[in-house]
């Protein structure tokens, strides 16, 4: 990446980058005040339905899959949408460790077209500084040019306490403060190999809206933590980026990649992950958190019960 290009991207990312920990106004409630709405159980008619579009244009694939899934009917006019891509690492899009920026931008545009009043792209980057990571991934610029606010939750004060009453192992944790203001939450993971959890997909991507990831990794059962956490997150849509996937040396790479050129859309977060796991030659049961999420009633993880619609 050329320096001028990098600095340009970094500038865009910094310019668009809100740092809530620094910029919070006096009108904001103190840490701990308020809470997320209770995460509703997935309606029966949405369970197990997965929509898969394949093609060389990620934006076109996304639009086709979202249309097939019934559109963004859950986005209220003037409402706030929070999108969580995987932008954790200082990696370029071709390295397949982060969500394709074209896909993130396309999602932003779809939400605005639907009537959203504000779209926020949020990430708690692992590499730092966050502005550099968002620049290198291409997501900072792509999202802001599409009309989103880009927020990097780099400070503990960017998170609020979260109760996890349906969790088996986890009973409380933290969640990005911005989600308290969201009417809609859309998860946009990158499908990739992960040395600790076999694969990182949608449910795993939710770790990036929590403050202390280390506690999960060093705890007794990472898979159960991932599934437990998802029970407390009001999630409206999962869009798995499988345009290019990372096959080895995940989650950061660099490693071997493959190009399924697929965009996977589902209201059922477990079904989205279950289908995505097959792109790696795995069964959903090979990924511990998928089975545990199904046990918790979050969705359908059994391939035989999935309804996959190809568009």
């Amino acid at each position: 990446m050329r320096r001028r290009r990098f600095l340009e991207l970094a500038g865009v990312a910094c310019g668009a980058l809100a740092l809530p920990g620094c910029a919070r106004g006096p009108e904001s409630p103190p840490p701990g005040a308020g809470a997320l709405p209770e995460a509703p159980l997935l309606p029966e008619e949405l369970r197990g339905k997965v929509f898969v579009a394949r093609g060389t244009d990620p934006a076109a694939s996304l639009e086709a899959a979202v249309d097939a899934a019934g559109g963004l009917v859950f986005v209220p006019k003037g409402g706030t949408v929070v999108i969580k891509p995987n932008a954790a690492w200082a990696r370029t899009p071709e390295q397949a460790a982060t969500t394709d920026p074209a896909l993130v931008a396309a999602m932003v545009r779809l939400c605005l077209k639907r009537g959203a009043g504000r779209v926020v792209v949020f990430e708690h980057t692992i590499d730092r500084p966050a502005a550099q990571v968002l620049a290198m991934t291409g997501i900072g610029r792509a999202a802001s040019e599409a009309g989103a606010d880009v927020i990097a939750g780099s400070s503990e004060s960017d998170y609020i306490p979260l109760e996890v009453p349906r969790g088996r192992l986890m009973k409380r944790d933290t969640v990005a403060r911005i989600l308290r203001d969201a009417d809609v939450f859309i998860n946009m993971p990158k499908a990739k190999q992960h040395s600790a959890t076999e694969l990182t997909l949608g449910l795993k991507n939710l770790m990036g809206i929590n403050w202390n990831r280390q506690a999960w990794h060093t705890g007794p059962d990472l898979h159960q933590y991932i599934a437990d956490y998802a029970t407390a997150i009001p999630l409206h849509l999962t869009v798995v980026d499988a345009t290019r996937i990372l096959l080895t040396n995940g989650p950061k790479g660099p490693g071997e990649t493959a190009d399924p050129r697929e965009v996977i859309v589902s209201r059922d977060p477990v079904a989205a992950d279950a289908y995505a796991s097959t792109l790696f030659g795995r069964r959903p049961a090979d990924v511990g958190y998928i089975a545990k999420a199904q046990e918790l009633g979050l969705g359908v993880g059994d391939m035989a019960a999935l309804q996959v619609t190809r568009v």
Partner: protein
């Protein structure tokens, strides 16, 4: 009970001292400047034990299981190029050599060369990674490119890190 508190305090101080010393050593391997390269401000991450999760996230267990005790990651910039460096301290030079061989098998899908094998480079998907060992230090350099020039750049950079590490032995 009266002896317990001073003992705990001494142990905590010793642990903090060891951590500080370990970080300082790794900063000598990957200093603020390497020739014309400068470390990017605020992009340095250090981890010790389970703290290595700050560098590798879920991948960190592979490193700790192999014997990595500490690691330091830095991003360097020179003109229009960027390079990512990670220096790892391992439990022994033997563990470092073994880990290098493991990485070779993983990346090259082949058995590592016999003899004094201490570095290699692998390219793919827009990047080149150079791996090397020097004593108990395991070193990686990621360059954003797959060309021959990128490979030479990665290998050249990792050789400088090896020289820096050799002075710590």
């Amino acid at each position: 009970m009266m002896l317990t508190r001073p003992l705990i305090a001494a142990l905590l101080l010793a642990a903090a001292g060891a951590s500080l010393a370990g970080r300082e050593d790794l900063l000598k391997v990957a200093p603020d400047r390497i020739n014309a390269w400068r470390a990017v401000a605020d992009a340095t991450v250090y981890g010790r034990g389970d703290g290595i999760v700050d560098i590798y996230n879920g991948g960190y267990e592979d490193y700790t299981r192999a014997g990595v005790t500490e690691a330091l990651r830095r991003m360097y910039a020179q003109g229009d190029r960027y390079v990512e460096v990670t220096a790892h301290t391992m439990t022994s030079s033997r563990a470092a050599r073994s880990f290098l061989a493991d990485r070779y098998r993983l990346e090259m899908k082949a058995a590592p060369p016999r003899g004094a094998f201490k570095r290699f480079a692998a390219s793919g998907s827009g990047s080149t990674t150079a791996y090397a060992v020097e004593g108990r230090y395991f070193l990686t350099v990621v360059v954003y490119g797959e060309s021959e020039a990128a490979r030479n750049q990665a290998l050249g950079f990792v050789k400088v890190l090896e020289q820096n590490a050799s002075r710590l032995r």
